[in-house]
C-alpha cells in the first residue's frame, strides 16, 4: 500500500470520535471495528443503517455519532444511500448547498442484511456506480435476535437455529467475491484486531469514488460464546489461522494485505469459542476438524 498516513501503530488517530456508552455488548468486535473506521472517516458522514445490532446505536434521543444517521430497513440501506447521495449531488450541482456541507454516505449493516436480505439492493447500488462506502460488521449470524444462522455463518458453527451435534450445515457465503464480481471501485476485508491494516483500507476507500465495500469480521462474545476480554485475541487468531483472509480488491486485482506465515492450526481459533465446542467435546471430531482445516488450506493454496 502506498502513500498512507498509517505506517505504524503510532500513526493511528489518538482521539476517538465515536461516543461511549452504547448498548452494544461488552467485547463487541463490530463496535471496535466501527470505532477505528469512524476515527478515519470522521464526522462529515451520514450513516445509513439497516436493521441489526447497530440499529441500537442511535436510540432516541442519544447517538454516539458526531455526524448524521438515517435508519432505513433491513433490506434497503443501499437504496437509502442512493437517495441521500443523489439529493446531495443535486443540491451541490444546482448551487443550492455549499460544497463544504456535503457528506460521505456510509451504509452500515450486519451480515444478516449484507449477505441476505440486502444483497439485491447492494448489487444494484454497485451496478449503478453509487458513490458510497458500505461497512458490513460480520458476526456470522443474526446477532441482534439471539444469533440464529445467517448466510455468513461458518460450517459446523452452533447457532440458536443450528444447535445440533453437527452445527450449521451450510458454508459461509463468499461475499467478498460476490461484491468483487460487480467490479466496484474497492472491496476489502478488515478486522478490529488489526487496526493498522483496517485504517489503511478505510483511508484508501475514503480516497476513492464509486462503490467501496468493506467487510469487518466482528468477533461476538454472546453469539460465539467466549469471554468479552478475549475478543481481540480471537480476532487475531482468525487472521493467524487464515480463517479470515485480510485482502482488498481494486481494478480487477485481489491483493492479500496480511499473509499469515506460518498459519496456525484452525483448531486454535475454533477451540476458543463455545459455538465450536462440539468439535472438541465430549470427543474430538478429528474428521470434521481436518475438513475445516483443509478448506482453509485450499483457500491459501490458490492465493
Amino acid at each position: 500500500m502506498s502513500e498512507t498516513l498509517f505506517t505504524r501503530m503510532k500513526d493511528l488517530p489518538s482521539t476517538h470520535l465515536l461516543g461511549a456508552g452504547t448498548p452494544m455488548c461488552a467485547g463487541c468486535g463490530g463496535l471496535s471495528a466501527l470505532h477505528e473506521i469512524y476515527d478515519v472517516l470522521g464526522p462529515k458522514t451520514v450513516f445509513v443503517n439497516a436493521a441489526g445490532c447497530m440499529t441500537l446505536l442511535s436510540v432516541y434521543p442519544f447517538t454516539p455519532f458526531r455526524g448524521s444517521w438515517l435508519y432505513t430497513s433491513m433490506a434497503s440501506a443501499p437504496a437509502g444511500a442512493q437517495g441521500v447521495r443523489d439529493a446531495l449531488d443535486i443540491l451541490v450541482e444546482q448551487e443550492r448547498m455549499p460544497e463544504e456541507e456535503d457528506l460521505e454516505v456510509v451504509v452500515l449493516t450486519g451480515d444478516g442484511s449484507a449477505y441476505g436480505m440486502g444483497l439485491s439492493s447492494t448489487s444494484s447500488a454497485i451496478e449503478r456506480g453509487l458513490d458510497f462506502l458500505y461497512i458490513c460488521y460480520d458476526n456470522e449470524g443474526y446477532g441482534n435476535t439471539g444469533h440464529q444462522a445467517s448466510g455468513a455463518t461458518p460450517h459446523a458453527a452452533k447457532t440458536s437455529t443450528s444447535a445440533g451435534p453437527r452445527g450449521f450445515a451450510g458454508y459461509k457465503k463468499d461475499l467478498f467475491s460476490i461484491w468483487a464480481a460487480h467490479e466496484p471501485a474497492y472491496v476489502a476485508t478488515v478486522i478490529g484486531s488489526e487496526p493498522l491494516d483496517l485504517a489503511r483500507k478505510v483511508e484508501k476507500a475514503k480516497s476513492l469514488t464509486g462503490p467501496r465495500l468493506i467487510i469487518a469480521l466482528a468477533p461476538c462474545p454472546t453469539g460465539w460464546e467466549y469471554e468479552p476480554r478475549e475478543s481481540i485475541d480471537i480476532g487475531r487468531l482468525a487472521v493467524k489461522t487464515g480463517v479470515w483472509p485480510l485482502k482488498e480488491y481494486e481494478s480487477g486485482t485481489v491483493t492479500h494485505t496480511i499473509v499469515p506465515s506460518p498459519r496456525l492450526p484452525v483448531a486454535e481459533y475454533l477451540q476458543r469459542q463455545g459455538r465450536f465446542a462440539h468439535l472438541f467435546q465430549p470427543a474430538r471430531n478429528d474428521a470434521l476438524l481436518a475438513a475445516l482445516q483443509a478448506r482453509v488450506d485450499a483457500y491459501w493454496d490458490q492465493v
Partner: protein, 415 residues
C-alpha cells in the same frame, strides 16, 4: 396555459414536471410505467433539471424517495398494485420520517388471481400508513392534485408524504382534455421546498428514523404523526381555496354532486364516480332525488365535510371498489364510523361491492342500487352487502370452469 389531450399517466408526469421535482426514484409496473418513461425523457432532454434513477424494486424505490426527501429535495415517485405492496414496509417507515414527497399510485387489483386491471384494494392497504391519500376522478384532477399534494405534504403543520391515486386503465390510459397551467403560475402557488431542519448537512448533524425504547416514546411519535395528519383537513381546505384562486378549478375534499335536496346518495371514490354522475342526471330526469358524494381526500378523513354533504339524506349507498375479506367494503366502514351516533345521520347505509379488477359498473346497476336504497329507507331494513355481478357473468364463469374441467381431463383420456 395550454390545453392538451393527456392520459392520466401523462397528466401525472406533467404534474411532477410543473412541481419542479428534483428527484424521481423509479421502478416500472403496469399500468404506471408511462409516467416514469415520460419523466425519464424529460430528464434526458434537459427539460427537467435533477435526476431520475431506476431502482431494483419498489422497496428500494420508496426508501430512496424517503431518503432524498429527508436530505431536503423535492421528490416524486409512482407505483401500482403489487409494487405498492412490495414497498409497503417502507411506506410505513418513511411516513414516520416526516419527510414530505408525493407518490402517485395507479391503482390496480391485487393478486391472487393476478390481474392488471383496476380497483382500490392496493391503495387502501396504505390507508393506515401515515401517507395522506387523495383519489382522483379525471385526468385534470391528477395534474392538479399533484400540485396540491406538494403543498399539503410540505406544509409545516403536516409534513407527511402524500399518495395521489388514479384508476388504472380508466384514467391511466384514457385521454382527456387537460389544462396545463403556466409554470410561472405554478411557481407562485407552489414555492420551492423549504426542508427546514429535515435534511442532512455537514454543519448540522442530525439523526433521522431512529429507534425508540419502550411504548411511551413510540406512542408519542405515532400520535404526533396522527395529529399532523388530522391537521391535514384544514391545510387541504386552504390549499384547495388557493388553488381555485390561482387556477379557477376547485377540488374539494368531499365532492357533493346534486346533493342539496337529495334523499338518496351514492358514495364512491375515483373515476367511476363520473359514471355515477351520469346515472344521477338520468335519475334526476326521472324526478328521483338522488345525488353523489365523492370522497377525494381519504386520509385525513374529512368527517365534517362528509356529515355536511349527507345532512338530510335518507339513505346512502356506498359503492366500494375494494373488498376487505371477511368484512366487505372499506369505504362503507369508513362512512359508518364517521356517521354513527350523529343526530342527522341518514337512517340507511347500504353496501355494494363493484368494479373489482376493472369490471365495469353499468348505469342499470346504479339505477338498481338507487331503487334498493329507496326500498331500504321505506322498509327501515338494509339488505346485506351485495356484489355487483350479473347472471350473464356467472354463466360465463361457469363456461370457463367447464372448459377448465375438460382441459384437465384431456390428458387422462389420451393416456
Amino acid at each position: 396555459m395550454t390545453r392538451q389531450l393527456l392520459t392520466g399517466n401523462g397528466a401525472a408526469a406533467w404534474g411532477a414536471r410543473l412541481a419542479r421535482v428534483d428527484y424521481v426514484p423509479a421502478f416500472p409496473i403496469t399500468p404506471q410505467t408511462e409516467i416514469i418513461e415520460t419523466l425519464a425523457d424529460w430528464f434526458d432532454s434537459g427539460a427537467m433539471p435533477g435526476k431520475l434513477v431506476t431502482l431494483e424494486s419498489e422497496h428500494s424505490m420508496i426508501t430512496a424517495a424517503g431518503a432524498a426527501a429527508a436530505t431536503g429535495v423535492r421528490v416524486f415517485t409512482a407505483t401500482s398494485s403489487q409494487g405498492l405492496l412490495y414497498g409497503m414496509e417502507m411506506i410505513y417507515a418513511v411516513a414516520g420520517w416526516r419527510a414530505p414527497f408525493v407518490m402517485v399510485n395507479v391503482s390496480r387489483g391485487l393478486g391472487t388471481p393476478t390481474t392488471l386491471e383496476s380497483d382500490h384494494t392496493d391503495v387502501l392497504a396504505a390507508r393506515d400508513s401515515g401517507f395522506l391519500q387523495i383519489h382522483c376522478a379525471t385526468c385534470q384532477e391528477v395534474l392538479d392534485t399533484i400540485l396540491m399534494g406538494y403543498r399539503l405534504a410540505e406544509d409545516t403543520r403536516t409534513r407527511l408524504p402524500v399518495i395521489v391515486n388514479l384508476d388504472g386503465f380508466y384514467l391511466s390510459f384514457t385521454r382527456e382534455p387537460v389544462e396545463i397551467p403556466e409554470s410561472r403560475a405554478v411557481s407562485e402557488f407552489l414555492p420551492p421546498y423549504d426542508p427546514q431542519n429535515v435534511r442532512f448537512r455537514a454543519s448540522a448533524p442530525t439523526s433521522q428514523g431512529v429507534a425508540v425504547l419502550g411504548g411511551s416514546p413510540y406512542s408519542y411519535f405515532r400520535y404526533e404523526a396522527h395529529l399532523a395528519a388530522l391537521r391535514g383537513v384544514e391545510v387541504y381546505d386552504e390549499v384547495a381555496s388557493e388553488f381555485e384562486a390561482a387556477f379557477g378549478r376547485r377540488h374539494d375534499a368531499v365532492e357533493a354532486y346534486r346533493c342539496e335536496d337529495a334523499d338518496i346518495v351514492f358514495v364512491m371514490m375515483g373515476s367511476f364516480s363520473t359514471k355515477a354522475k351520469a346515472a344521477v342526471d338520468e335519475l334526476r330526469r326521472a324526478e328521483q332525488k338522488v345525488g353523489l358524494v365523492r370522497i377525494r381526500l381519504l386520509r385525513p378523513f374529512p368527517v365534517e365535510a362528509l356529515r355536511r354533504a349527507v345532512a338530510g339524506v335518507g339513505g346512502i349507498a356506498v359503492i366500494d371498489q375494494n373488498l376487505s375479506m371477511g368484512r366487505g367494503g372499506v369505504l362503507h366502514t369508513e362512512i359508518a364510523s364517521a356517521l354513527y351516533g350523529e343526530q342527522d345521520a341518514p337512517r340507511m347505509l347500504l353496501s355494494f361491492i363493484g368494479g373489482l379488477g376493472g369490471r365495469d359498473i353499468s348505469p342499470e346497476e346504479l339505477f338498481e342500487i338507487a331503487a334498493e336504497t329507496r326500498k331500504a329507507v321505506d322498509s327501515g331494513r338494509a339488505p346485506p352487502t351485495r356484489l355487483l355481478y350479473t347472471a350473464g357473468e356467472l354463466r360465463e364463469i361457469r363456461k370457463l370452469q367447464a372448459i377448465a374441467e375438460v382441459e384437465r381431463r384431456e390428458p387422462e383420456q389420451k393416456s
